[in-house]
């Protein structure tokens, strides 16, 4: 370990809590919590997870997403049929008035396709979420461990 490594580790230790602390985004009536994805050694498709609360009186819908780190971001869900997992694309994800949409493992998720580089643990990247009412909202995703089953934040 040389000085550069130490500096890098020090920087990571300083920045990681900042990323975690800043991990909530507001857009109109929507509060968007803990966007996260998993690290991967290769540029395999990744999943993005986030919880979107709607504090307003009108329902909203997540209709799409985009990010400069991926060629395409699709909305997907995970359907179980007789013990078989099937991933299917969905047109939109409802964010009910006074309720929330939960994108989480084994459920709705963003599918990040055509990643331009592998995601490394601790990396952050911007994703623009597109809502029917709230419009475009840019949030920051945090990359967790490859085997993370829920956000550590």
């Amino acid at each position: 370990m040389n000085r550069r490594h130490l500096l890098l580790i020090a920087a990571a230790c300083t920045l990681a809590p900042l990323a975690a602390a800043a991990h909530e985004f507001k857009a109109g009536d929507l509060v968007i919590h803990h966007p996260w994805a998993r690290a991967g050694a290769q540029t395999r498709p990744g999943a993005g997870y986030v919880v979107i609360e709607n504090h307003g009186a009108a329902a909203d819908r997540l209709t799409g997403a985009e990010s400069r780190i991926a060629e395409m971001v699709e909305l997907h869900t995970h359907v179980m049929e007789n013990g078989v997992a099937k991933m299917t694309q969905v047109e939109a994800i409802d964010v009910p008035a006074g309720g929330k949409a939960e994108l989480k493992p084994h459920g709705f998720h963003l599918m990040l396709m055509g990643l331009k580089q592998p995601l490394a643990e601790g990396d952050t990247f911007p994703v623009t979420l597109v809502f029917e009412r709230a419009g475009k909202v840019e949030v920051t995703f945090v990359t967790e461990a490859a085997g993370a089953t829920e956000s550590a934040h």
Binding site: A39, A41, H76, H78, M80, K86, P105, H106, M113, A148
Partner: protein, 198 residues
Amino acid sequence: MSSVWTRRALIAVLLAALVLCGILLFKLYERYAGEDSGSADIGGPFELVNQDGKTVTEADFKGKLLLIYFGYTYCPDACPTALGVMAAALGKLDVAGERVTPILISIDPARDTPEALKDYVAAFHPRLVGLTGSEEQVAKAAKAYRAFYQKQPGATGEGYLMDHSTLIYLMDAEGKFLTYFGPQATPDEVAEAIRRYL
């Protein structure tokens, strides 16, 4: 008139007999299915290729409990979650976890070459074994474990997804089936179950 009633009575008796037969058969089926299908039939011999390109069989894994998951590296959601649960469960077992070998068997050998698996498995657990092989080798292993998989209908090109069963199997040191975990199992539940068999 009376012949109509006789016929009706006969039909009623026949129907009742049929229903009784049905119930009896179902009970018998339940009994034997319960005895056989759950345990004895899951698992068995396989020949696959590990992440280092070496051909291995079930014999290479004897002596340790096995945690086996059938998945693929292009799987964005279910597989990383299951592999994460497996790795976290072994972490919770601490030193005792070393008596368990976690294994990912690819059900997408067309894309999951040994080289592709090597980096992939290492990201989850230092001892996670990645197995792939020819289409036939993989099909045979999946059949032994009653794991289902198929390329999504209508999929074209390289970016396809696979439909697949998502159970995590726990096998004993002889390769015999002990129990399985569904996709919602937590690391604590998996670790707790393993502890019972260690």
